[in-house]
Symmetry: C2
DNA sequence: CTAGAAAGTGAAATCGTTCTCTCTTTTTAA
DNA sequence: TTAAAAAGAGAGAACGATTTCACTTTCTAG
């Protein structure tokens, strides 16, 4: 049933029906007649026709590098919460950490099928900048600051600082660093800086050779821990850019008789479930992923309502969660017991 | 730029342009002219107009109960792979384990904005059946069999059987069961049956009081393990319906001095990353989540191509992964070392 | 009491396609 | 050579809404 048929059924004009659904001058009498007819027929306007006519789809595109990672999943949950509540639909593109697929997804946008975009950030290439700049849609970058665009990010530098400082405050003096590529501003560069901040603050020199770069998974954490610890056996504490990497490193320690925290303290950023239940529960910095997602979605909706809102960067805080990997609890301690 | 303008620019009729993009009789000369004009202008047909006119949106809705769970995330990744490759877009609705939101999402479909649905299954209520039956769209149920509908599911019964039998084959005689609600056919009912199958096969009676029901998370696993093991201290092995629950149970053992596997063997279904790196790596049954997602998407595309395809249920197999929680490896053993 | 503003109304244009229908031209088969 | 089939082309009617515009009626203020 279309609007013409429905209007005839209800005994009003098409315009009246449209006003009923979209607001506008409409007498009480007609409003009641239409309401009754809706009740009787179950009529509702066609979304496709509305999209064509109004040029708004009420759909938001979310581009993300990986779904099966706790942090991304939680951010998407946050986004989904807010979009749902506001009657927007969530279109998902998983780029599988493939930068070209990311750009391809952005290019798809020039066929304007969505009202806005939330881009969960990883590595930005010059191509990204080109295509992002050419976009006429509101874009929110989630997970790192990006000049000229709205963004919601975490205080990665502060988080890394807190985690590292926590170990140094316990008297450790030979810190190692297991990071990710510096091309990733948030998890790579900022966390590295935070690590260095803590060292500088404590007057501990950063020796070359005491850092290594891993990929975003446990296996890589294991391998890089192996490389690093064989090269630098004197390390007494290790900061890892992500929980996954820390778990890999922990696994290496376990299988090579390195005691955590006695021989080596370990900290990380992310506070994942896996880190909490690991062999030695890992001291980690909790970031508010879900909140970040919600905030990004809210920001986007704001921009949709008023396109002239200025670019703004919201930075979320963090919470250090001390656990057994820094000697703040015994590994056997109840995690969930009250 | 719309088709009329573009057709004028290229010096052909609107119909010719449409045929260029959709196939149909078209002379080589016009084809070349249009191709050149596309190159020059970057024109492409409006998706919204196509949706309205053809009544096909090339969008697929995926309804799932939870994003931040490894299994769901992997299934969605599989779905995303296939849809992407075939030019379909993925619309995501996260129902947050709320049955009414699930039904609401399905009802949204009667506003027909998508071509098909993949429903990641949990608990099916009579309402589900009503609304599913009233749907005129192809629907694939992912994660459990559901009579009358296409589905892709795992051999949950076989998986639970394998996990349980593995413990019994090692001489254990007092098995306990930590499951989830039977309203969930796959993770609840089928895994329970598999557990019972193994007991029957081994001639081990199932004592009442040796089973308990948990929610889908670690905390609940911890609590239910506590209840169960305090009531039945003589248990010597424990089957858990999910890895999360098993991790919770393991945590309980750890904090209460119960040695795994010596005092209590533990197995589960799911083979999550967290289970592999737990305090005692958990023997678990691997299910092919990603493949399941891919298969579901392929099935849906088939139905989209030919709506008369018959309902079919594909059941995927499983792989038992023996680990330290059943004494098949030492906890210190390298997981990733070659 | 009246002018002007506000509220209420419906016809018709518009959004950007696809696709049927009619017609012409070319190819094929007998 | 010719009839039938196939290929190619374009006009114009949908698809199902929103929104402008011109108009009428009802308030409100002075």
């Amino acid at each position: 049933m279309n609007i013409t048929e429905f209007a005839a059924y209800a005994g009003v004009s098409k315009a009246a029906v449209s006003r009923y659904f979209n607001g506008g001058y409409l007498s009480e009498e007609k409003r009641a007649r239409i309401a009754a007819a809706v009740e009787a027929t179950g009529y509702h306007p066609s979304l496709q026709a509305q999209m064509l006519r109004t040029r708004r789809t009420r759909q938001v595109l979310v581009i993300l590098p990986k779904l099966s990672s706790e942090s991304c999943a939680r951010m998407v949950e946050g986004i989904s919460d807010v979009l749902d509540q506001n009657g927007y639909q969530l279109l998902l593109v998983n780029t599988a950490n493939d930068s070209s697929r990311e750009v391809a997804a952005l290019n798809l946008l020039q066929q304007n099928t969505v009202d806005g975009v939330i881009l969960i950030a990883t590595i930005f290439t010059p191509e990204h900048r080109t295509v992002l700049a050419s976009l006429r849609l509101p874009v929110i970058i989630l997970g790192q600051e990006y000049p000229g665009f709205c963004s919601v990010s975490h205080d990665d530098r502060g988080a890394a600082h807190a985690a590292t400082a926590h170990m140094l405050s316990k008297g450790r003096t030979a810190p190692g660093f297991l990071g990710v590529t510096m091309l990733d501003k948030a998890a790579g560069l900022d966390r590295r800086r935070g690590f260095e901040d803590a060292l500088r603050e404590a007057g501990v020199p950063l020796r070359p050779g005491r850092t290594s770069i891993a990929a975003f998974n446990m296996e890589s954490g294991y391998e890089q821990a192996s490389t690093l610890l064989e090269r630098e056996p004197s390390l007494d504490c290790l900061f890892c850019a992500t929980d996954s990497i820390a778990i890999g490193a922990l696994q290496y320690c376990r299988s090579h008789g390195i005691r955590v925290p006695e021989d080596l303290m370990i900290t990380a950023v992310g506070d994942s479930e896996a880190g909490r239940v690991a062999y030695v529960p890992i001291t980690s910095v909790q970031l508010h992923y879900r909140t970040a997602g919600q905030l990004a979605a809210e920001m986007l909706l704001e921009h949709l309502a008023d396109p002239h809102t200025k670019p703004e960067n919201r930075v979320l805080d963090y919470v250090l969660r001390p656990r057994a990997s820094t000697g703040d609890a015994s590994p056997e301690e109840d995690i969930w017991a009250e």
